[in-house]
Amino acid sequence: MRDDEIIIRVAGAAGDGVQSAGQIIAKTFSRKGLNVMTYNYYQDIVRGGQSWYQVRASGGKVRSQGDGLDILIALNKDGVERHTNPDINEGGASPLTGIAIFDKSISGYTDRKVTYVPMPLSDLASKHSSFALMKNTVAIGAAMAATGVDFDTLSSVILDVFGKKGKVSEQNVSAAKEGYDYYLSNHKSIGKKLSFGNKRKYLIGGGEAVGLGAVRGGLKMYIGYPMTPASSALHYLAAHARDFGVFVKIPEDEISAINMTIGANYAGARAMTGSSGGGFSLMVEALGLAGMMEIPIVIYESQRPGPSTGLPTKTEQGDLNLVLGASQGDFPRIVLSPRDARDCIDLTSEAMNLAQEYQTPVIVMSDLYLSEHNETVDSIDPEFRVDDGNRPVDGEKDYKRYLVTESGISPRAIPGQKGLMHNEDSDEHDEYGDVVSDAETDPTKRVTMMDKRMRKLETFVRKMPPTETYMLADAEYAVIQWGSTAGVTEEAIDILRGKGHRIGAIEVNRVFPVNPDIGKLCSGKKKIIVVENNYSGQFNRLLKAELGLKTVLVRKYNGEAFYPSELAAMIEGEMR
């Protein structure tokens, strides 16, 4: 691990305040201008179990949760035991090599080659409050002292987090100060060279980034039924509904959610829905309705491991087959897969326009890893050009809702427009929207309309921006990844480059339709290695089918995200 980088992990049981402690640490670093990435390991319970929250920070790039562990804050004995044990590997996470901070009442753990820092956390906390979780704040103070960050920044974060609670907020600052001072008087700094600055960075979660991107893209209605890990976007938008002027609604189920989303867009209000695979499965029939009626909709699909309820608090990229194959018949759909928080903002805004432009479903595919971790972005552009696509003017003569055009895109009138009344139909219809399937089934019209709709995909492909790459120019080996594995793939490439391998990556954030340029980027490479967080290599199969690529597959499906050194080793294994 680099000297200018630090990894801190807070470990405890659910209900111990693990996540809020981790978030205070993360924000302290992002306020000091460091790049930060957090990782949330938790279970589907409200109390008990084992959970932990990790913060990685550096002046340099931080593109994954990272390898190594410098400081452990253990809130119970199990935390000390588990995270110092070199054999316990929480789905790829590293055991501690640095210091472990915990309450001095914890004893009887196995002695290992780490620096133990038992502290009177509870005693120091009780000087300021009888509230049990206050000892966490003391521990945070101690850990922050160990990193050398100034106390003022920490206290500014604590005040903001507990802000409105007045007295509680002051008590927490005092408790943190106790821990901070105690550590400085009794222990030494961990000797990292962190390049602290004073330009604050935005620390944002992937779900919030999707919400923000949607609003920037003209969102007026968000309708979603809660399901982890898609709920973070729903919560963010609900909290800001008035301010953003966005109508937010939880309906009776996901079937209703998508039909409402379709209804809103039909009426001319940009609307979006979101869920995980289970909820998306309920949306399947209506997805095709939007395809047939050519109504723009955006769906945020944040994956978690299936099948069925699966692992509700874990990550996977196992829904691609579902998303690509959902609903009967052929119709155009666009699938985007943001790589990081910045992509979540940018691609969601873009999705809002693409849906309007192509009048068809656009699905933004994320996963728990991306939706639920926080990461820093340097800047967020408030500007975005919202484009409503092809809209006819009132009173247009002989208006045809589904006018056959070269691009496949037809003028979309919305209710309220004078003289453009028409019917939109889930039955096959002609250019006017009149049904052709009932009385006089018309094979010619059917083919014309199918071709027209499907032509929209060809138009989209023609306008696709080039696929982005990483260190690919001189590479002999190409890694192809999609979505949230981009950052960790880059770090794995760096590790392999460090070992002398000429390897680079193709980063796919527009998954479907497949960009034909991926085939060109692969030409002449010794080996093409596809990296996926799922069992069967769903994207790999798509690439083979669409581009005829010969590939090998690297996969992980234990519910956790890839770690850089783990992924590097897996890739290296395939290079021989």
């Binding site: 306020r31 604050r200 935005y202 620390l203 944002i204 919030e208 923000l212 609003v215 920037r216 003209g218 007026k220 209605m221 309708i223 509904a241 008035r242 953003f244 002027g245 966005v246 109508f247 937010v248 309906p251 009776e252 189920d253 079937i255 209703s256 039909n259 409402m260 989303t261 379709i262 209804g263 809103a264 039909y266 009426a267 001319g268 209000a269 609307a271 029939e285 209506a286 309705l289 009626m293 967020i380 408030p382 500007e383 975005f384 919202v386 209710p415 309220g416 427009q417 004078k418 453009l420 009344m421 028409h422 019917n423 939109e424 139909d425 889930s426 929207g433 009149d434 049904v435 009932d438």
Partner: protein, 283 residues
């Protein structure tokens, strides 16, 4: 001036001659005309079924969606643009089987729309299977030995769910039908109208004659009396009441939600420009 002709579509209805749906189509067109509502401000949303073909035959904005899903679509249309007059139209199978959950929750939300069900006590489009309102003993393709499942009473269901307007009418009495549809459309909030609409082709039990012998016009003493309404709608057998059973004032969902409550329709509001202050919480 809006005339009935303005609402006449170029497509001739494909219903069987004498199908009950014709009466509802005329009633809707006549009432919209009478109320001087411009066709461009009317959205008719339907599901799938014979009845649900109606939007194809009326010159307004039509949405012929999925079986059972018309109410979520209709609700969102209203929320997007509350200036529109939104009418939901579908069958008994559509509304009381496939779309039950939407019926319950839309009624409870009191979205300002009019939901008219063409209740023929059978699946028409799929050529005659027992529906949720088919009576016990009813013989159909799927119940050759007679239906053994109790029918739902859409009226008690709507009342229990909290609908603010609950009414019933009969295709065989166009005048009554038109009056009830008019009251439903004028009502602010969720109006539910169940219409006995004989399927002359597949339902040989619940015919025009069957209803003509039984229906009588019910006048509520106090339409806001829930208990009275609840009792009245349960009368069944030799005498079946039709009319407006229940009507109360209540705030609609879109009045209560602070975002839709504003005067300007969501569709007409400018897009919200982001400002750097919007990102400050992340700093």
């Amino acid at each position: 001036m809006v005339t009935v002709n303005d609402y006449s579509g170029k497509i001739k209805p494909d219903w069987c001659p004498a199908c009950g749906n014709f009466a509802q189509l005329s009633a809707i067109k006549n009432v919209l005309t009478e109320l001087k509502i411009e066709p461009e401000n009317v959205v008719v949303v339907s599901g799938i079924g014979c009845s649900s073909n109606l939007p194809e035959f009326i010159k307004a904005y039509g949405f012929h969606g999925l079986h059972g899903r018309l109410l979520p679509v209709a609700s969102a249309v209203k929320w997007a643009n509350r200036k529109l007059t939104v009418i939901g139209y579908g069958g008994d199978g559509d509304g009381f089987f496939e779309g039950t959950q939407h019926f319950f929750h839309t009624a409870k939300r009191n979205v300002d729309l009019t939901y008219i069900v063409s209740d023929n006590q059978i699946f028409g489009l799929t050529t005659g299977q027992a529906s949720p309102t088919s009576e016990i003993g009813f013989i159909s393709k799927t119940t050759p030995d007679g239906n053994i499942e109790k029918p739902v009473n859409p009226m008690t269901f709507a009342l229990s769910a909290g609908a603010t307007f609950v009414a019933r009418s009969f295709s065989g009495d166009p005048k009554h039908l038109q009056e009830v549809v008019k009251k439903g459309i004028q009502h602010k909030g969720f109006s539910f109208i169940d219409v006995f609409s004989p399927c002359v082709t597949f339902n040989k039990t619940n015919t025009y004659d069957y209803f003509r012998k039984r229906v009588y016009k019910y006048e509520a003493k106090d339409p806001s009396n829930f208990e009275e309404a609840y009792r009245a709608v349960q009368e069944w057998g030799d005498r079946i009441p039709i009319g407006v059973f229940y009507q109360v004032k209540g705030q609609s969902y879109e009045d209560l939600d602070p975002v839709t409550a504003e005067e300007t329709a969501l569709t007409e509001r400018p897009y919200r420009k982001l400002k750097p202050e919007d990102f400050e919480e992340f700093l």
